[in-house]
């Protein structure tokens, strides 16, 4: 029937068409289809590497199959969760949800305030129909029962109709409205939030300024002015490992912090316990080793000195890194790897057999020429582009040792641990959390609440009629009707 009416569209014109489209979009069926679409659309995001989670894997993808990768990239396959088509689905879904839920909420509010419908003429065909011999005060007892059990009642001449269980629809609506609240929280977070990463070596201080970050992302409606003032100095970093399985047991970064007011405080950051500064939280995300080296020229002038952060490659923290000395002429580069507990493997060469510094060793090859730092192409700090360079030497050092090569020397002074701090501000997260909790409450109410009506009427012959109607749980109504009948008879 409905479809036939909708076929007559041409007469309705543009406004009618818009109304038709709106009605289609906000129908339950469309909302459900969009929900399923959202789930399906997120599948590629879990199968393909994502740029914001694993940029290295994306680069690898491009290297292995450039044509395929280019096509995947054109379809936003490496940024699924910020892709236009993904956004389109969830924006449509939430418009649909709002259009579906809001009218129902108003309707429901009206219904809750309204009195239950009048007692129908024929109760015989309704659930649990019972005839009770009356003696006069049945209606009063029934009224008391309804009041005690929180029914809404409509008292009529010789009969009462009572209704209960709007809880279910209330919960249902609360659940869906909460989903909207969660999305509001997500949007606030992505518009006004920020997230940045900074690597600091033991002894260094991180100051919350845009320039202190190695990478920094803002929400669309915020900028570096929103960074609040605080600093974190890494005094020491302690990593404990299980000597049998080599797995990490605990990471603790001991820090001195300074807040906006200039209060100095000692603190510890652990993996599951971040520090909080106002609206920003500071997380311990990664760690590794930074060999401290000094590079001198042939007359002993220092060309480079300091810690160089190396990138861990395996669970025993074999790490790779590069020491770049642009001050030397010609420029020098040390393509290096570092092992905290050195062992020689006949196949793999230098390997680490334990993640702690038991027998640290720095291995490197020395390259001479142009580091390519002036080309403007951004470079990884862990690797060196050696296309314009020649290798002049190869060696390995233990802490405190020095290696002399033509044109200078390198001294491996010591090793310091480094940590990666993530600074995150998400002003929307409390909305999402409240939304989540309310959604759960609404869900429980909607799944376990049930709506029912009970009627009682004194017939002209003095007999009392009782019947009920349940929307979704007739077994529970039977039980309640039994109690009700007993109460009306005065047995309870």
């Amino acid at each position: 029937m409905k479809n036939e009416r909708e076929v007559d569209l041409p007469e309705i014109g543009a406004l009618g068409l818009a109304r038709f489209a709106w009605r289609q979009l906000t129908s339950m069926r469309t909302a459900l289809i969009l929900l399923m679409l959202l789930a399906i659309a997120s599948i590629p995001g879990s199968l393909l590497p994502q740029r914001n989670q694993n940029p290295m894997a994306v680069r690898e993808y491009f290297a292995n199959d450039p044509t395929l990768a280019k096509w995947i990239d054109r379809l936003s396959g490496f940024d699924v969760f910020s892709a236009p088509w993904f956004s389109a689905i969830y924006i449509l879904l939430f418009i649909s949800l709002i259009g579906c839920v809001l009218p129902r909420t108003f309707e429901h509010l009206k219904l809750v305030r309204a009195k239950p419908p009048v007692t129908p003429k024929n109760l015989e065909k309704l659930q649990g129909y019972t005839l009770v011999k009356g003696n006069g005060d049945e209606l009063a007892r029934a009224h008391e029962f309804f009041k005690k059990n929180h029914f809404r009642v409509r008292v009529q001449a010789g009969s009462i109709s009572a209704e209960k269980g709007y809880f279910r629809e209330s919960g249902n609506l609360l659940f869906h409205l909460s989903l909207i609240l969660i999305l509001v929280g997500v949007s606030i977070g992505s518009l006004f939030g920020m997230r940045g990463d900074a690597i600091i070596v033991t002894g260094e201080r991180f100051i919350n300024l845009a320039t202190s970050y190695d990478s920094l992302n803002y929400g669309k409606l915020t900028n570096e002015k929103s960074l609040n003032t605080f600093s974190v100095r890494l005094n020491s970093f302690v990593a404990k490992y299980d000597p049998i399985t080599n797995t990490p047991l605990d990471y603790s970064a001991y820090v001195t912090t300074e807040d906006e007011a200039g209060n100095l405080e000692e603190g510890v950051i652990k993996v599951n316990s971040p520090l909080t500064f106002g609206s920003s939280r500071v997380y311990l995300q990664a760690n590794g080793y930074a060999p401290v080296v000094t590079v001198r020229d042939e007359v002993g002038n220092v060309n480079f000195q300091g810690p160089v952060t190396f990138l861990p490659q395996d669970s025993n923290l074999r790490s790779i890194g590069s020491i770049k000395v642009p001050e030397a002429s010609p420029q020098l580069g040390f393509v290096s790897s570092f092992v905290p507990t050195y062992q020689r493997d006949p196949q793999a060469g230098a390997v680490s057999v334990y993640p702690e510094l038991l027998k640290p060793r720095l291995l490197f090859s020395i390259w001479e020429g142009d580091l390519g730092l002036d080309t403007g192409v951004p470079q990884s700090i862990y690797t060196i582009d050696t296309t314009e360079m020649t290798r002049i030497a190869l060696d390995s050092l233990a802490p405190g040792e020095r290696f002399d090569f033509t044109g200078g020397s390198i001294t491996f002074e010591k090793v310091e641990p480094w940590i990666n701090l993530a600074v995150v501000r998400d002003p929307g997260k409390s909305y999402s959390l409240i939304g989540g909790i309310l959604a759960l409450a609404g869900l429980l109410a909607s799944l376990f609440g049930f709506r029912r009506r009970i009627w009682i009427r004194i017939r002209t012959d003095g007999q009392v009629e009782i019947a009920g109607l349940a929307k979704n749980n007739s077994a529970a109504l039977d039980l309640q009707l039994e109690n009700f009948v007993r109460c009306v008879k005065g047995e309870k």
Partner: protein
């Protein structure tokens, strides 16, 4: 007792539980076989003698309870062997998952006579434990720092129980589809005549999902709270999170389809199986081949 002794003890109890599950499987197989036996007098199913099958069902259930208890001790001993809740790797998830699954069955048994399902339940538990102990076994080890949180207990226990009940509901939906297709064809096979009516199976599978869907929702929310304190964001579309979301959406669609659109029977059962398979996929694929933040060293 040293930690290693606890670990050995745990292994022995898991092995014993497997043995008893196998026995329970055999007895349930006899239960099914005896139900087929037609007494002299013809194939009139109304007059069939089920007393032997009934006896077998009782023994099978007793064995199942015994296996559950043995497994429970195995899981607890595993926890004592490494000083934390036994949910640090996939082996531990699997044995706890099998425990939750059989537990859900035994609890459901108190209300409905599901003993005909015992054959599948014991087989599924046996397969899960077998896979766990042969392919997924890792020596008992301490937790990595990222897992050291109270939320591990809350988030994972909710996820494991949800998984157990989802799986049970799937088994019932599968049984529904099988019996339904048989009833459409030649009729129920003789051994299945004792099984509940299709409508009962249909309702039961729905009730289990409706009961456990809020728990699954809770598990996702608890995971998000934990992720906020461990990784600095409550939702990041990590593969595990993505598939948890897909499972959530699939079951949400299932509940909507049943409650709002009024789906029943075959279509609902297929949707239920689909939703359950997304959960299984999440467990197997993301843990074994995935790259996300939920993959911890060595499964």
């Amino acid at each position: 007792m040293t930690q290693t002794t606890w670990a050995y003890l745990s292994n022995n109890f898991v092995y014993s539980a497997m043995g008893v599950f196998a026995l329970s499987f055999l007895v349930h197989a006899f239960e099914t076989a005896w139900a087929v036996k037609v007494p002299a007098g013809g194939a009139d199913q109304q007059k069939m003698d089920y007393s032997k099958a009934e006896k077998a069902a009782r023994i099978g259930t007793s064995l199942m309870i015994l296996a559950f208890l043995l497994l429970l001790i195995g899981v607890i001993a595993r926890g004592l062997s490494n000083g934390h809740v036994p949910w640090g790797n996939m082996y531990e998830f699997s044995i706890t998952g099998a425990l939750a699954f059989t537990g859900a069955y035994l609890v459901a048994l108190r209300k409905h006579d599901l003993r005909w399902l015992g054959l599948f339940i014991s087989l599924a538990a046996l397969l899960t434990l077998g896979t766990a102990i042969t392919l997924l076994y890792r020596d008992s080890a301490p937790l990595v720092p990222a897992l050291k949180s109270t939320w591990l207990v809350i988030h994972v226990v909710a996820a494991i129980i949800s998984g157990g009940v989802f799986l049970l509901s799937n088994v019932i939906a599968g049984a529904y589809l099988y019996l339904d297709s048989r009833e459409r064809g030649a009729g129920r096979p003789a051994w299945a005549t004792r099984l509940p009516a299709l409508e009962v199976l249909d309702q039961l599978s729905y009730r289990l999902v409706a009961f456990v869907f809020p728990l699954w929702t809770f598990s996702v929310i608890a995971g998000a709270i934990w992720a906020e304190s461990a990784w600095g964001r409550y939702w990041g579309w990590d593969p595990k999170e993505t598939w948890a979301f897909i499972t959530w959406v699939a079951y949400a669609a299932y509940l909507h389809a049943r409650v709002t659109i009024g789906w029943k029977g075959r279509r609902a059962a297929w949707l239920c199986l689909f939703a359950g398979s997304t959960f299984l996929f999440n467990y197997v694929y993301v843990n074994v081949w995935g790259t996300g933040k939920h993959t911890y060293s060595g499964l």
